[in-house]
């Protein structure tokens, strides 16, 4: 059962091949048996999941044909889930039982999905390896000595190991797409504003977006149907019509123009990885797309720009964690200042504290213009580059990451090298454009991903492109031996 996609599981439930209760128990047993090797879950929701599964079976028996009814999923532990621990992988929130559901969690619940657990992540979504969690590192199921990527590494590892058919994630600089690539699965970051951020604990508000980690583009489309849509509770939610993303999956891609930015294929790029990406581009060409050379001239500034804006916004967003209204507090504070300072020092991890410090510095008097305002202007240039390119082509293609999964611990003391993992992904966040990663082959027996980025609100066409590629390749059907 666990090797089936959501589309297949949905058909299986409707045809009464198995029940949602059997399916949910199957995944819960797999998690109990295999997750000690991966550490991809922080919280398992066994009792509530089985109760919800029984409810789903009743509705199926009564004739409900909702596509996601009875399907187990997991949520990255950045999404508030009512009456369930929501930690953001931080000691700061190790006692936070959320009093409400995030909008996207609520929408998936209403669509009939079964929440089986909350997945591990880099603390407050800051990281590219899921080594920054207060709940231990997550391991890549393809090679337990390597990282799954981050910050949605728990979701990626869980889906790759088929502990759950799909999971939610969040993406601020690549945190869905990069772990999807390193774990050999599909990861979608929609247009900024497409999915509500209400109840998604904020890291960098102008960059954060909720998204999906799944086995296939078809599954991502099914989930996006449920998650997308205007939310009045999120002031940045966009009132854009939500199509049925599954309806156009099989459309022809003849005539679609695909651009390969020369800056994303430097000479230093791993030759085996580069070869696989070019082969993937050729597959799309065989399907009728046309390939074009394009340029994103300011792309070399994307990482510095991102690592000013994201820490700046994080320093503001994490100012709310003071140990008073929620979250962990330090013991025996001498005064209010001491309460704030020691609560935050004791309960934020090292990477989080570093980013808050960087953010505070770049926003401080005397430095704001040189750093933050400068970065905002460069963000405009980077976005303009994308818009210029998207006048010539429909989609932009590149590798998702410069390398396959790296060894655990190999970059945890080398911040710059770690940050450079995001080199191909951050542009999509800076410009607010939708993008995804799909499996495109193996380098040294480790999966790598193909990255596709489109213009605003082109998720239907993006998923169509990815789905057509997955119809002529089988990389998305590969799974690690742990499965």
């Amino acid at each position: 059962m666990h090797k089936k996609t959501i589309a297949e599981l949905s058909a299986g439930l409707q045809q009464r091949e198995f029940s949602s209760e059997e399916l949910t128990q199957h995944y819960l047993t797999r998690i109990k048996t295999l997750d000690p090797k991966l550490n991809s879950f922080i919280t398992r929701c066994e009792e509530s999941a089985l109760k919800a599964a029984k409810e789903a079976d009743k509705k199926i028996a009564e004739g409900s044909t909702e596509k996601l009814l009875g399907i187990p999923i997991a949520h990255k532990d950045i999404f508030c889930t009512q009456d369930i621990l929501t930690t953001c992988a931080s000691k700061m929130l190790n006692n936070f039982i959320s009093p409400y559901d995030a909008t996207c969690a609520s929408k998936l619940k209403n669509a009939g999905t079964i929440l089986i657990g909350k997945t591990n992540m880099d603390e407050f979504a800051m990281g590219s390896s899921t080594e920054n969690s207060a709940y231990g590192v997550v391991k890549n199921p393809w090679d337990l000595g390597t990282v799954p990527g981050g910050s949605s590494g728990g979701s990626a590892a869980a889906v790759a190991a088929r502990l759950v058919p799909a999971a939610s994630g969040s993406d601020t600089g690549g945190s869905i797409r990069q772990p999807a690539a390193l774990c050999g699965i599909t990861g979608l970051k929609p247009t900024y504003g497409r999915i509500s951020r209400y109840g998604m604990i904020a890291f960098a508000s102008s960059l954060d977006q909720a998204g999906i980690l799944s086995q296939t583009a078809e599954d991502a489309a099914l989930l996006l149907n449920a998650m997308a849509g205007f939310d009045p509770k999120d002031s940045t939610s966009v009132d854009e019509p939500v199509p049925d993303f599954t309806q156009t999956l099989n459309h022809s891609i003849k005539g679609l123009r695909i651009g390969l930015p020369k800056e994303y294929f430097p000479d230093e790029l791993d030759p085996a990885l580069k070869k696989l990406i070019y082969e993937a581009a050729k597959e799309l060409e065989k399907l009728g797309a046309t390939l074009h050379d394009i340029s994103l001239p300011n792309s070399h500034l994307a990482i510095p720009t991102y690592y000013v804006i994201a820490p700046a916004e994080c320093s503001a967003n994490l100012a709310r964690f003071d140990g008073i209204r929620y979250g962990h507090s330090c013991k025996d504070p001498k005064n209010l200042e001491d309460l704030y300072e020691r609560t935050r020092a004791e309960n934020f991890g090292d990477e989080v504290k570093h980013r808050i410090m960087i953010g505070t510095y770049v926003l401080s008097t005397g430095y704001y213009q040189a750093y933050y305002q400068k970065a905002q202007k460069l963000r405009k240039l980077i976005s303009n580059d994308c818009q210029q390119a998207l006048k010539q082509v429909d989609f932009i293609l590149s590798p998702t990451t410069p390398t396959p999964a790296f060894k655990l611990g190999s970059r945890s003391h080398d911040r710059i090298h770690m940050y450079l993992s995001d080199i191909f992904t951050v542009t999509s966040n800076l410009a607010g454009l939708p993008s995804l990663s799909i499996p495109a082959g193996f380098v040294n027996n480790l999966p790598i991903g193909l990255h596709l980025m489109g213009n605003y609100f082109t998720e239907a066409r993006l998923l169509n492109l990815a789905h057509r590629y997955q119809q002529v390749t089988n990389f998305h059907q590969c799974y690690p031996t742990i499965v």
């Binding site: 009093p99 002031s235 300072e341 570093h354 410090m357 240039l381 710059i416």
Partner: protein, 105 residues
């Protein structure tokens, strides 16, 4: 670039306690600042700052009540609450002079 005094000052602003013994650990922030300085290579005098990825303006709504007091529900997760009030450690160290004057009168 930040020296140890700067690190202490920024830590104070960020409300994060960093003891003297740990200041050295934060000196690598200067590596990030060096990387960030690549931004200076481009002249952006004529470029408008972009604070938001989409060309949208802040949505407004009617000035009507939509939310209701759910203080009990939200305070369930607080560490120290009494009679609907969040309790915090003492803010002021001593009674202010003007209060003493008022009492005398």
């Amino acid at each position: 670039m930040m020296n140890d005094q700067d690190i202490k000052k920024i830590a104070k602003m960020a409300k994060i306690y960093i003891p003297e013994s740990e200041l050295a650990h934060y000196r690598d922030i200067n590596d990030i600042l060096t990387m960030i300085e690549q931004m200076d290579k481009i002249n952006t005098d004529a470029v408008e700052a972009m604070s938001h990825p989409l060309e949208i303006i802040q949505r407004l709504r009617d000035d009507t009540i939509t939310e209701h007091n759910e203080r009990t529900r939200w305070q369930k997760v607080a560490s120290n609450v009494e009679a609907g009030i969040y309790l915090v450690p003492q803010v002021f160290d001593q009674v202010c002079d003007h209060v003493t004057h008022d009492t005398k009168e």
